[in-house]
């Protein structure tokens, strides 16, 4: 029985050697030679069925390769995964899961989170004084009422590094002291500029589960990854040009101009 098992594994090895990348093809003849030697020494009562098709499906699921060499461009996103063999027709799934996304895909992913990558800062005078203008901006599923110089903590934004400029596309409402613009649901011409300040972890939260009198107790620690953004500029609304903003009075009349913006993108 041990002999039989050995030969089965040998055939599987031969199968795997044949299907490996060209680097290992050089090794293949040597191992094939060694295999042939052992095959020559088989007992006469062992029926050796070396049919490639039979062992293909049997051998394939048990193998797991180390990660393929990934592109040097995508350092941030690449998760080294175990890929199945090339014989299986999972090429489409592999491309989606491989995350070897080109710059277009990066931009798409960023747009899903309603941020657009801008160039890195190069001694730009981006940080201005406070302007009495606010915007309601959405990132992912969270909305913030934002003004110049504010700080926002969002979920970790991939594809952006510290000291990067972002443009937040999804602006739901703009407002100043005299004017309010409400989008339906978003304002297409508005933009909010922000700078990534920090990618950090939140404080540890301990998730404790207990069922009493059932001898069940679990403790789990969790640290959420956050990104800190500093809002630098709000565009899309006329800003008052006073040096000192007038003190806000509660009975001030506001002109509401709801512009009818047809929702282009759902």
């Amino acid at each position: 029985m041990a002999n039989r098992r050995c030969f089965q594994t040998l055939t599987r090895c031969l199968q795997s050697i044949k299907t490996l990348t060209p680097l290992s093809e050089a090794i293949a003849p040597y191992s094939a030679y060694a295999l042939n030697q052992t095959i020559a020494a088989t007992p006469p009562n062992y029926i050796f069925v070396n049919n490639a098709d039979i062992y293909q499906r049997a051998a394939v699921p048990t193998r797991s390769f180390s990660s393929r060499p990934t592109d040097s461009d995508d350092v941030e996103e690449d998760d080294e995964e175990d890929y199945e063999s090339e014989e299986e027709d999972d090429s489409e799934n592999e491309e989606e899961s491989v995350v070897l996304s080109a710059e277009d895909k990066k931009i798409e992913a960023a747009e899903i989170g309603y941020t657009v990558m801008g160039p890195l800062q190069k001694s730009d005078r981006v940080f201005k004084l406070y302007e009495p203008v606010f915007a309601v901006v959405q990132i992912g599923s969270h909305q913030f009422k934002v003004s110049n110089g504010d700080t926002i903590y969002t979920e970790r934004l991939k594809h952006c590094d510290v000291n990067d400029k972002l443009v937040l596309n999804k602006v739901l409402m703009l407002g100043s002291q005299t004017q309010t613009i409400i989008g339906r649901p978003i304002l297409p011409d508005a933009a909010v500029h922000a700078v990534v300040e920090e990618h950090a972890l939140d404080a540890k939260v301990i998730i404790f589960k207990k069922k009493r009198r059932k001898n069940y107790r679990r403790t789990k620690g969790h640290r959420q990854e956050l990104t800190k953004l500093r809002i630098t500029d709000i565009q899309g609304i006329e800003k008052p040009e006073n040096t000192t903003p007038p003190p806000p009075s509660p009975k001030k009349e506001k002109e509401k101009k709801p512009e009818k913006k047809v929702a282009m993108e759902a």
Binding site: Q121, V195, R230
Partner: protein
């Protein structure tokens, strides 16, 4: 991390041991990935320090005079790089639970709402 464009991490000290097995990862990191890390962060002062007989450490010195020490014993070079990147990405502030996700000095633009407020078009 940077506040208004100023990087907060000033100095990174990589202390390792050239004999101990727990420093294997950080030694491999120093050979393979540390030069790239230094190139990508020219504003950062990276110092390698030999500390025999101790577990390997990554010490980060921040502008607010805060030190963050991370022990990287028995970690792979990729994990060490991730730790170093985290130190470089973060401020030196104490890790506290966030009170609010929106920090502002001017909460109201059009005036804080009160019950007496009357909106007229």
């Amino acid at each position: 991390m940077s506040v208004r464009g100023a990087w907060q991490l000033k100095k990174l000290v990589v202390s390792y041991c050239n004999w101990g097995g727990s420093s294997r990862g950080i030694r491999a990191f120093m050979e393979s990935q540390l030069p790239d890390f230094i190139e990508k962060n020219p504003q950062l002062e990276v110092v390698t320090e030999l500390n025999r007989g101790y577990h390997p450490l990554l010490k980060g010195f921040y502008k607010n005079k805060n030190e963050r020490v991370v022990c990287v014993k028995n970690m792979t070079p990729e994990d060490v790089l991730q730790c170093a990147t985290r130190l470089r990405n973060s401020q030196g502030r104490k890790v506290l639970k966030l009170k609010t996700r929106h920090v502002t000095k001017h909460p109201s633009v059009q005036g804080t709402w009160t019950t007496d407020l009357k909106i007229t078009n």
